[in-house]
């Protein structure tokens, strides 16, 4: 109990410590230099309508690559941690899923995939992008897993797609380095007319790759958590 009390005291002190963040930092009414440049020059420089996408894919592209890497190593790491299967591996009798779920998912899965693809290909135009699209792809896969409890995902295929999309990402980055201003510069393709699907340089391509890679990585994580490799 004493320990709880001390912890409470500490946390209260911590809250007090954070106080200047609330008290001293008021709401801004102005953009700072960096943001100002992104929203004013961004559309012209990169041709993307969604400026968050412009920041994610190009201006702070290295972060995004890093983020992809984080997901990648999380997937690898989880597989690595779970490399030894549980001691007693009884094939637990899985309940087969209901008819409704199965027919429903047969119908839904293609739609979800389509929707996911839409989201990440239109990341430069509308809200959403690679991550969100990738998650939608994952949900399609999840639905598949739920409706077909016996089936195993084609692991080979997801892994190959994942690796290849990762390499493509890097290649596009290098193209930016060689053909444009720097690594991950998306301007080595024509900017095109703003608002079109094929515009904003390489942003849609990068975001699509991200979408696919994120999708595959998340599927990998879920798959590893669901079943263990034997």
């Amino acid at each position: 109990m004493a320990k709880r009390f001390i912890t409470l005291l500490l946390i209260a002190l911590l809250a007090y410590m954070f106080l200047p963040f609330i008290v001293e930092v008021d709401e801004t009414s102005q953009l700072n230099r960096v943001a100002e440049k992104y929203v004013t020059a961004g559309p012209l420089e990169l041709g993307a309508a969604n400026l968050v996408t412009a920041v994610i894919v190009t201006y702070r592209g290295l972060d995004t690559l890093g983020e992809i890497v984080v997901l990648f190593i999380a997937a690898v790491g989880i597989g690595f941690l779970l490399r030894k299967p549980s001691k007693k591996k009884i094939a637990a009798p899985k309940r087969s899923s209901s008819e409704i779920l199965r027919t429903g998912s047969d119908f839904l899965i293609p739609l979800l995939i389509l929707f996911g693809v839409y989201i990440f290909t239109h990341g430069h135009l509308t809200p959403g992008g690679g991550f969100q699209g990738g998650v939608v792809l994952t949900s399609a896969a999840l639905l598949f897993m739920l409706s077909n409890t016996e089936a195993r995902f084609n692991k080979q295929l997801t892994e190959v797609i994942e690796s290849v999309s990762g390499i493509f990402y890097l290649i596009i980055g290098i193209l930016g380095l060689i053909l444009a201003g720097g690594f991950l510069d998306s301007r080595f393709l024509q900017l095109g007319e703003m608002g079109r699907l094929f515009s904003a340089g390489a942003i849609p391509i990068i975001y699509s790759i991200i979408g696919i890679k994120v999708g595959m990585e998340l599927i990998g994580i879920l798959e590893k958590l669901r079943k263990e490799e034997i």
């Binding site: 969604n50 968050v52 996408t53 549980s86 001691k87 007693k88 009884i90 637990a92 809200p127 959403g128 992008g129 991550f131 969100q132 998650v135 939608v136 994952t138 949900s139 999840l142 998340l218 994580i221 879920l222 958590l225 669901r226």
Partner: protein, 81 residues
Amino acid sequence: MSLIIIIFLGIIMIAAAVLALYLKNLVAAIISAGVISLLASVLYLFLAAPDVAMTEAAIGSGLTTIVFLLAFNKIRSDRED
């Protein structure tokens, strides 16, 4: 108007957070934590950040909850062995 909604949502979120920590039933606690993220994604709309709202809804509340449940399921099946 929006302020009232925000405060209302905020109170629910805090309540959900406390519930998530103190519910005995772990599945309920996990879902309760998912609710926080879901409501947070609503708040992001107020903050004019639709991208974040989508992500938080999909990843923060959706996927994270699923990962929690899968892991918990794994632990439960280990316990039964």
